[in-house]
């Protein structure tokens, strides 16, 4: 996995896990990779993955069944969306707003490009 320089690794791993849940590759109550397995896959320190799993546990996105492993929580997709919405608004939106302001982009213009984007990418 390519990591970006702009965000803490454990948060990037959280996004990776959330992405798998949103894409339904990991479904509710599925077992997810162990800390060690994911650390090996991503070539990162297992303690970093542990930190990610603790964060996702605190958001009720995954849970830990002692002695068995980590599992996707019930109703995970809505919880992931809630979590991702918060991080998007806090972390990414300010940058988008900054560019909208600097480049004088109108919200109407934005709305039509948004529609086109949805049509092209998520039409099914």
């Amino acid at each position: 996995m390519e990591f970006s320089d702009h965000k803490a690794i454990y948060l990037q791993i959280a996004e990776y896990v959330c992405e798998h849940i949103l894409l339904k590759e990991w479904k509710d109550e599925d077992r997810i990779p162990s800390v060690r397995e994911l650390a090996v896959t991503l070539e990162v320190n297992p303690n970093t993955v542990m930190r990610t799993y603790e964060l996702l546990q605190s958001k009720n996105i995954i849970n830990n069944k002692r002695g068995i492993g980590f599992f996707v929580a019930e109703d995970s997709i809505s919880k992931v969306k809630e979590y991702r919405k918060t991080t998007f608004i806090e972390d990414e939106l300010p940058n988008v707003f900054r560019n909208l302001y600097l480049l004088n982009i109108d919200f109407k213009e934005l709305q039509s490009s948004y529609q086109v984007f949805i049509e092209q990418n998520f039409r099914s």
Partner: protein, 275 residues
């Protein structure tokens, strides 16, 4: 796992390298050891494994004094130096002569690592390439199941696929009862594997802090303009690459190279923050 107290060390007829050095290392971590050329990284590692003796101070490694070189300690240490020589023997003979010194030696793991690293078994160990030799001693060292693993510049000489394999192997090698110390200048090869940063500067340990602690106290980011909270900055393509005190609790990614340069240039400011 390792406690160093008031360590004073210098090679004979040379100025002291370490003065009153104190450090505590625990198991369950991968420590990254950084320092300028000549700062004493390799020397510190040699002190820990009992290859050189300090003038004064105490060293406690898993309950032992390494300078006594007791077998009970040595069988629990895997030390991979930067420079090494391998004898003119085949792998099988090397195993027969050397593996018995390590009671926990895992032959299956060794076989697996040798095949993952593509090390040829039909050539003598002194005849294979430098990178292959390096991979061989890494495979052997990790198969000893030693609790203390020390590696000096382990990725030097490894080709691109081997570096990826090395990172995967290290990620799986860290267990709760193991302590891994890696000294390197190839920060990019290893920065996501390291969870605690040790920096040597001015004859002592200038920093020994977890990535979590560092990023709680400091914020690493690219900015257009600097403000008064900046601790250290370097000009970059679109402004500055800078370290700030992290007053807004931002979650940034540690930049080890930038932190290292900050330590060399602004050691006073960093000392205040970390003490």
């Amino acid at each position: 796992m390792i406690t160093i107290e008031n360590l004073n060390f210098g090679y004979s007829k040379r100025p002291m390298l370490f003065r009153d050095m104190n450090m505590q290392l625990n198991c369950g971590h991968i420590y990254g050891l950084f320092g300028e050329n000549g700062a004493g990284k390799s020397t510190l590692l040699k002190n820990i494994v009992g290859l050189v003796y300090a003038q004064s101070g105490t060293l406690n490694v898993m309950g032992f004094d390494p300078k006594k070189r007791q077998p009970a300690l040595l069988q629990d240490i895997c030390f991979i130096p930067e420079e090494f020589e391998l004898p003119s023997v085949y792998i099988d003979n090397y195993l027969k002569s050397t593996a018995p010194f390590y009671p926990k030696f895992d032959y299956q793991r060794f076989k697996l690592l040798i095949s993952e690293f593509n090390i040829p078994s039909d050539q003598r160990l002194n005849e294979i390439s430098y990178g292959q030799k390096k991979k061989f001693i890494i495979a052997f060292g990790l198969s000893t199941q030693a609790r203390l693993v020390i590696m000096d510049e382990p990725t030097n000489g490894l080709d691109i696929p081997s570096k990826t394999q090395f990172r995967k192997i290290m990620a799986s090698a860290l267990t709760e009862d193991r302590c891994i110390i890696i000294s390197t200048h190839q920060v990019r090869d290893l920065d996501n594997l390291i969870d605690t940063v040790i920096m040597l500067n001015e004859n002592s340990i200038a920093l020994n802090a977890s990535v979590e602690e560092i990023t709680q106290k400091l914020c690493f980011k690219r900015v257009k303009e600097l403000d008064e909270t900046v601790i250290y900055s370097e000009p970059s393509i679109s402004g500055y690459q800078a370290i700030f005190s992290n007053s807004n609790e931002q979650e940034s990614k540690l930049d080890i190279e930038l932190l290292f340069n900050a330590l060399l240039n602004e050691s006073g400011k960093l000392k205040q923050i970390f003490n």
